[in-house]
Symmetry: C2
Subunit: 217 residues, 2 copies
Amino acid sequence: MSSSPPSARTRVKRVHERAAYDRATLHAVLDAGMICHVGYAFDGYPVVTPTLYWREGDAIYWHGSSASRALKASQDLEVCLTVTHIDGLVLARSAFHHSANYRSAMIFGTARLVTGDSEKLARLRAMMDTLYPGRWDALRPVSEQELKATRILWMPLDEASVKIRTGAPIDDEEDMADNVWAGVVPFRIGFDTPVPDPTTEAAGRQAPDVTDRLTTS
Amino acid sequence: MSSSPPSARTRVKRVHERAAYDRATLHAVLDAGMICHVGYAFDGYPVVTPTLYWREGDAIYWHGSSASRALKASQDLEVCLTVTHIDGLVLARSAFHHSANYRSAMIFGTARLVTGDSEKLARLRAMMDTLYPGRWDALRPVSEQELKATRILWMPLDEASVKIRTGAPIDDEEDMADNVWAGVVPFRIGFDTPVPDPTTEAAGRQAPDVTDRLTTS
């Protein structure tokens, strides 16, 4: 398990005992999700775009249409990519100490373009393998035109921090006897029954196994 | 239902039939969640921070510790606040047409500080009422010191856009006969059984009703 020291901007300033900078923790948080929020400056104002991401080793990737303004604008720019899992609501005995349990990762870096058809194909395959193990080979090959219409960005996981809160509320000692329920209401997140496209249904095909990465830990 | 025309930065450029700019749609997307990602520029680089938000009328609020670097840094600055609900994975007959069903709102504006003790108290109460209806009155009053330690920011919903994708995959005509499952795997999100704090449990208190805003639509 490698570990990199925090930079000035990744060092968690407040409640620093909730911070982690090691790769294993970072990978675990990233691998538990699929949607991130990418922030970048566009014409001097901040823009935050939700998008699907995937991790390969110590790099993170996201993609979209070559016509996407957000992807075009953020290429070769500094971005901040944030992944957040909310694990529960924390109900304390005072309003002030209410909180949330969560795992979040914040990655800083310069968004770089993935170039070259074979490189792009390999990345798309990795994305599909991450989300839908085994599905890639069941699909027709990606066409040259589709590849051209797809833009993939990436950055290394060199400058990243993780922040995690778990467990019960932390109340003031003098509130402990108050007549109020306190505890955690956990979130449950997962997949529901697949809804086949009518054409698929008619053909009696089986729904694929989707990765279980989105279930809460 | 009021409606505001899109600005240069809120006008959805791609797949514009998925865009909405009316207040009712915006409110519905915001009211279905509680976590947003706020983007702002800090020392020239973008930062994206996850945080709880709540809506009151045509304003959106978020808060945290007065010592929070993110809150201090974004005050009186342009921010982009994005709320995203992922509703399902869309599995098409080709890799290229895989997609996701989602509802997302993007709000641009200048983050303003909520000032004055009574004003701050009213906003905190509104937040608690949004998340935990009826709970505020069961808790001891917020102290002056706690109020001082809390920073609340807000901005109007004047410049916002919503993007929504629903429904089945949209495949190329020539792929429709391919022998592959196609359809939607919906997400299910909601609350799990509350976990009482040991002290609460011993006293036999009942868990409060948490708002059901986080269940998928």
